[in-house]
Symmetry: C2
Subunit: 340 residues, 2 copies
DNA sequence: TTGAAAGCGCTAACAA
DNA sequence: TTGTTAGCGCTTTCAA
């Protein structure tokens, strides 16, 4: 007579109690073997328990565990839009980083919508995640929800320091300088900027870096156009830039996606890159490797940032003080700038 | 004297008990007002409870609720790679569909790695998600884990029917036909195919559709090249195709990403699209709108599929029989095919 | 309309 | 080395 499902008299989900009964031990012992502690179990007993677990097809109930332990081993990630390649890559990196540390990731898109962002954060808080990573659409996200929820959080993609909060970001200004200086190195003197729109009153670090580089080189300020960070935003900006009286010979774009849009606008105008207009952009998404010409871009160390962010959450859980990490960017040279 | 945190004597998380005490009611009543049932509560009492909830900053404990109810209102989504724009869009759509129905989404990437896929599925199962949506890297994913876990599941992006399983997919063959016939309509007679590699023995539906269209038109079969579904895969395929003795004048690509790679290979060879080589691809990602030339592509109704998949999960929870839904694709005409 | 209380499955302190 | 048991916070039946 083989051992089958029939041995589970209770029907329905197999619990630790069923395993205990089957193995002829107490439920505590089952816990010990499942969790590898906190008490030792005799090898023979352990084998019996393992066998019972396998035979009965036992799976620990995560909800019960979470209730008891006060932790679901889950983080929440809120990003503006998972369809945006930059955030998609970020989400992937965060998922990897979390998984490596035994945490699952709940994903929530806020679609660049403040109300949705708040709803998402609240929702995650009520789901008792162990921490939330927030890449806000705002430069000053509403942190009160996070504070109230009293769950660790970290601001991603955040250049500015938010006192009392963990944050990890990239040195936007330095990156933009890198880009602009490279363009200057190519001999350009009429360098425009295509800067993404955010809800802050404050100047985007990239805009700042671009201005500084121009100023330091003794160049006059170029035209600046503001539009969304996405492809249509870049396309629109391109049309405006090309229609300007003093058409720029080079453009610094605040995102690769905008650069993709610029490329299209420039092509449609019958002009070419980098001969008529040179471009350097920001982010380092893979798509930029396959555009024509390939994008010279300021690359963000996404994986490192994700690791750092998750570690910050873990540190916060241990009660450590908030940290603010700014990563350096690197200039990935391809051909849109005029190099070859 | 104002009401403050100090009114919570227990310190630490506020529980329903604290609220009950503060409002001078039983814990049951608090439940009734929080959940809007199952019993009615007098307006005055309700107001008192609501007030207490606000004052104390009470947040229901999701883990406890999940334990009691046996549902965490969470689905798991396993995809090969969230950095792939197609899957990113799918993930976004699934997240939206789930959120609309009150479910959160746990995201897991399997990186086209079978072992990781299994680990992810198992992990989700042990987290007691209410269902898992699996876009497998395999044509025949290992369903035993899902079966054993006894949690509802739905296969995404799955053309073939898997008896006993929910699945939603697209009619790959019909889509490929659409694409190929369009190319034929342009007068092409030498049409190659760039088909993605999957782990199945079986022929990809897209390959099938391409063959059929050619055959039905009385055309000889074109060259077929197999390579990964991503950009490098397309690039590699392009180099091989262009180096072939009988260079194709048109190519059907099984993914837009491959088409992006093809575009690069063709450009590097000094040829142009669609003059020297026409292209029609598959998926309908946004990136294809911004390539040069823009991609004519077979578009998948991602959002509809996501809705359908989530509904299938809900149906399965209610004990309904598995369903198999195949969606039709539409040809999105842009310029890579030769139209303008 | 409200309250008392059982119990979801698990962990770990304490007892044996 | 193993067992007993008290809760974790919540929902809901049953009784008042």
């Amino acid at each position: 007579m083989t051992t089958t499902q029939a041995d589970n008299p209770t029907r329905g989900p197999v619990t630790r109690k069923d395993v205990a009964r089957y193995a002829g031990v107490s439920t505590a012992v089952v816990s010990y073997v499942v969790n590898g502690g906190p008490k030792k179990v005799a090898p023979a007993t352990e084998a019996r328990v393992q066998h019972a677990i396998r035979v009965l097809g036992y799976r620990p109930n995560a909800a019960a565990r979470a209730l008891k332990l006060g932790s679901s081993e889950t983080f929440g990630l809120v990003i503006p839009d998972n369809s945006n390649p930059f955030f998609a890559r970020l989400a992937h990196a965060v998922e990897d980083a979390a998984a490596e540390r035994g945490f699952a990731l709940v994903l929530a898109n806020s679609d660049a919508n403040l109300a949705k962002e708040r709803r998402n954060v609240r929702n995650l808080a009520s789901r008792q995640v162990d921490g939330v990573l927030l890449a806000s659409v705002l430069f000053e996200p509403d942190l009160t929800d996070l504070e109230l929820a009293d769950i660790p959080s970290v601001l991603l993609n955040q250049g500015r320091e938010a006192p009392g909060f963990n944050s990890v970001g990239v040195d936007l200004a330095a990156g933009a300088r890198l880009a602009t200086e490279h363009l200057i190195g190519h001999g350009h003197t009429n360098i425009a900027a295509c800067i993404g729109i955010n809800t802050s009153e404050e100047m985007d670090g990239r805009e700042h870096g671009w201005r500084q580089a121009l100023k330091d080189a003794g160049l006059r300020e170029g035209i600046i156009v503001r539009s969304p960070f996405d492809r249509p935003g870049g396309y629109e900006a391109g049309r405006r830039l090309l229609g300007a009286a003093d058409r720029p010979k080079a453009i610094f774009a605040s995102s690769d996606l905008q650069a993709v849009g610029l490329l299209r606008a420039i092509r449609e105008a019958g002009l070419s890159v980098p001969e008529d207009v040179a471009i350097v952009s920001f982010d380092g998404i893979v798509e930029g490797e396959y555009t024509w010409p390939p994008l010279t871009t300021v690359t963000q160390p996404v994986r490192e940032m994700a690791d750092c962010a998750v570690d910050a959450l873990l540190a916060a859980k241990r009660g450590e003080a908030p940290q603010h990490r700014i990563f350096a960017t690197t200039l990935q040279i391809r051909q849109s700038c005029g190099c070859n």
